[in-house]
């Protein structure tokens, strides 16, 4: 079946090859080069070149606030990074944030996507509602959530206090952004809410690509809902889930804006409070590069971030390519 589909949709290449323009511009190989050239040029200028410069400058004491040329310092910036306990804290926080946020988001998005996919009416409307936070300004959303989280007079704690008084319970109200055990999780919840719609839309696209014949066959065989989900939906949704995992983990490890908007001023203007519980690796990079203007050291941190994200992405891609038995 696959072969016949390919045969049906194959482009009329022979006709192209026969055209005059095709011959003038050098044939098939040249056409490939022309097609790829914009991408190659774009990536060379905006990705490979800055990466190369960043790599070289990570071995210098480069400061943009100086008329003096950067001096070669060997591995000093890397030695500093590996001996700086703040870097370790920032990496652990970033990984915790990424795992928590992506895990929570996918755990919520998947059942929502399945429910929406089964809806006969109003699917588009719900999809729009869930997608609205994605197109909301992160600054505006962050400020609103900061007010929701206020320990006194915040909406969440006002509701909690009402419940506590109503049922005569006795517990301390959470200090969402002030308690080091809750601060990162509180930001994570905001991030889950903000990007939930994106995950739902992608998962719905994945679900709609699963042929209905599989479900029909499973029902005839007497499979219950869980068995259908476990043996049909989940395996066939694996490429979509892997795509979301790779893109979202890579994105969430680089979290910065949400933390900056919701937390930074609350700890005396410095990044990462309370008690460094929200210090992320990109936050540390920002502080090093744009507050302390230590671009050489910041370049070393950027390279470390690059290696961590690459390692995660490769691991997830390997997971996606493995053969799984269901």
């Amino acid at each position: 079946m696959t072969n016949s589909i390919q045969a049906d949709v194959s482009p009329p290449l022979p006709q192209v090859q026969e055209s005059l323009w095709f011959k003038i511009f050098g044939g098939k190989k040249a056409l490939l080069i022309y097609a790829l050239a914009p991408t190659i040029i774009f990536f060379t200028i905006f990705w490979i070149y800055p990466l190369g410069v960043g790599f070289l400058r990570s071995f210098t004491n480069w400061s943009p606030m100086s008329i003096h040329a950067p001096e070669y310092v060997g591995f000093a910036n890397y030695e500093r990074a590996f001996s700086d306990r703040m870097v370790g804290t920032a990496i652990v926080n970033s990984l915790r944030f990424a795992v928590t946020t992506v895990g929570l988001r996918l755990a919520i998005a998947l059942p929502f996507a399945i429910m929406l996919n089964n809806l006969r009416r109003g699917r588009g409307c719900f999809r729009l509602i869930y997608f609205l936070p994605v197109v909301t300004s992160v600054i505006a959303a962050g400020v609103v959530w900061r007010f929701l989280y206020l320990p006194r007079n915040g909406i969440l704690n006002t509701v909690l206090a009402g419940i506590r008084d109503l049922f005569g319970m006795n517990f301390d109200l959470p200090r969402y952004l002030q308690d080091p055990n809750l601060a990162l999780l509180s930001v994570s919840v905001m991030s889950v809410w903000r990007w939930l719609g994106f995950a739902i839309v992608i998962l719905m696209a994945g679900l709609s690509s699963i042929p209905t014949t599989f479900y029909e066959a499973a029902r005839i065989d007497g499979a219950n809902r869980f068995q259908v989900f476990r043996h049909i939906t989940l395996p066939l949704l694996r490429p979509t889930l892997i795509f979301l995992l790779v893109t979202e983990v890579a994105s969430e490890i680089q979290v910065f804006t949400e933390v900056f908007v919701m937390i930074s001023r609350g700890s005396g203007g410095s990044i990462g409070g309370p008690a460094n519980s929200t210090l992320t690796i990109v936050g540390l990079f920002y502080q090093t590069a744009f507050k302390n203007f230590e671009f050489g050291y910041a370049s070393a941190l950027a390279l470390i971030i690059f290696v961590i994200i690459s390692a995660f992405s490769l691991f997830q891609l390997w997971l996606g390519r493995r053969n799984w038995d269901y």
Binding site: S63, P64, M65, S66, I67, H68, L150, P151, R152, R175, Q178, D179, P180, G266, S267, G268, G269, S270, G273, P274, A275, S277, Q287, F290, K291, N292, F293
Partner: protein, 455 residues
């Protein structure tokens, strides 16, 4: 720029006119510069600066042209505050920066190290010293790169309504911390559990490092060792200062609660706090954001025998690009010197809640009419400037109250030890030291000590 070889009749008239204007300006140590070839100064300023709102920059530029040198032209460019501090150093280092730029002392270390700022000629420094206060603490290795046009220190603000409701008058203004806490206790409103629902005194603990620094200076201790390589944070005085803050917040009879309102500047006008530890800029903030709030201010209380009262800050003047041409540098210094010594321009500092450094304004009735400036003036000669430290040094100081009050995870000792560790790492890492000695230029420095660190 080529040298002018003759003086035309027109040039002569310009010179004579300029001399008359200069002579009419009392206390101005600026001689009229030679009316040579025209110079165009590129000037950058953050456009959200308070100065842009209260003093129209093009207006004073035109005044400079009319009163001092008509051959100086200006090209004004602005950027929002955040962008400005990224764009400016990059442009200066890249050789495309302005000749003259708005400056802030927080960046002094990097700008001096990077060769981005020109030092003032010695003869001009002598002229500035004649009319301005606060020049010496700004000197770095015998050179002046920028001076303060206004000085800032801490005061206590109070809401007049809360004050009057409690039957308090000006006679009740406290002069010691014990008196202030007793007053705060009377002004605190508590719920049935005894927790404050209106703080009698908000010690600004969200950014409480400056409250702690003020108390530490009152204990008679320097914040940084004389060689600049070690912080004096985890010390006996540091512990006493932090313990005072702790008692106000968590003691048997707390007068504050950090969770009541996010920021002191908002807690006071919304009547969530009756009194609060604050800065000069609060007055300006309330003028624009809480115009109906009626407030008063009084000088910071002190412990007995305190040789110093609090930290000194300042509103730094403009600075000159070290890569500008000689003609541009000379004209730029003229502009800054004129601006920083002009009584009319400097009077506006009081509106922004700052004490002008121009000595002749110290007795000015307009200045003294401002409750915040008059409160600052009472203590300004007993304030300490701790120097041009690296920017992350202040982040290390923030750890003290961040750990104790925001996170509530550390005891006094633990918080001080952590801040000490971080600050020492930062000071030890710095290549050039531009601090330490600056604290020792304070008026009460001879009564202060370099304390032992609690290990």
């Amino acid at each position: 720029m080529s040298e002018q070889t003759h003086v035309s009749r027109r040039d002569f008239l310009k010179l004579a006119g300029g001399a008359v204007v200069a002579a009419s300006l009392s206390g101005l140590p600026l001689a009229v510069t030679a009316q040579g070839d025209e110079v165009t100064l590129v000037f950058w300023s953050p456009n959200c600066d308070v100065e842009c709102e209260q003093i129209n920059i093009p207006e004073w530029m035109e005044r400079f042209r009319q009163e001092v040198n008509g051959n100086v032209n200006f090209e004004l460019s602005g950027a929002p505050w955040g962008d400005y501090w990224t764009r400016l150093p990059l442009a200066l280092a890249g050789g495309t920066g302005p000749d003259l730029y708005f400056f802030h002392a927080n960046w002094m270390q990097q700008f001096v190290d990077g060769g981005l700022v020109e030092a003032w000629p010695e003869e001009r420094v002598a002229q500035l010293r004649e009319v301005l206060d606060g020049i010496d603490p700004m000197m770095i290795n015998g050179k002046l790169y920028a001076f303060n046009e206004g000085l800032d220190t801490n005061v206590i603000y109070y809401g007049k309504k809360a004050w009057e409701d409690a039957g308090l008058t000006d006679d009740d203004i406290p002069t010691t911390w014990d008196e202030l806490v007793a007053l705060a206790d009377a002004l605190t409103e508590r719920d049935s559990n005894g927790a404050p629902v209106r703080a009698g005194f908000d010690a600004n603990l969200r950014d409480g490092r400056w409250t702690w620094v003020a108390l530490k200076y009152q204990m008679g201790e320097f914040l940084i060792s004389e060689d600049g390589r070690r912080a004096n944070i985890h010390t006996e005085g540091g512990q006493k200062a932090a313990q005072m803050l702790w008692d106000w917040e968590f003691g048997e009879n707390p007068v504050g609660n950090i969770d009541l309102a996010p920021w002191t500047e908002d807690a006071l006008p919304t009547e969530i706090a009756a009194m609060g530890f604050g800065f000069g800029w609060f007055a300006d903030y309330w003028r624009s954001d809480y115009p109906d709030y009626e407030w008063g201010a009084f000088p910071l209380p002190a412990v007995d025998g305190a040789p110093a009262i609090s930290k000194a800050g300042g509103w730094t003047t403009m600075a000159v690009n070290a890569q500008a041409s000689d003609a541009a540098k000379s004209a730029a210094f003229d502009v800054i010197q004129w601006h920083g010594t002009d009584p009319d321009l400097m009077r506006f500092r009081a509106l922004g809640g700052q004490v002008p450094t121009l000595r002749s304004l110290r007795e000015d009735p307009d200045i003294l009419a401002s409750p915040v400036v008059s409160s600052m003036l009472a203590n300004i000669d007993k304030t300490v400037f701790f120097g041009f430290t690296p920017p992350d040094f202040e982040s290390a100081l923030a750890q003290i109250t961040d750990l104790m009050f925001v996170a509530q995870t550390s005891t006094v000792d633990e918080a001080l030890a952590e801040a000490q560790l971080q600050a020492d790492e930062i000071l030890a890492r710095a290549e050039n030291v531009y601090w330490g000695f600056q604290e020792r230029t304070a008026t009460g420095a001879n009564e202060m000590v370099n304390p032992e660190i609690v290990e």
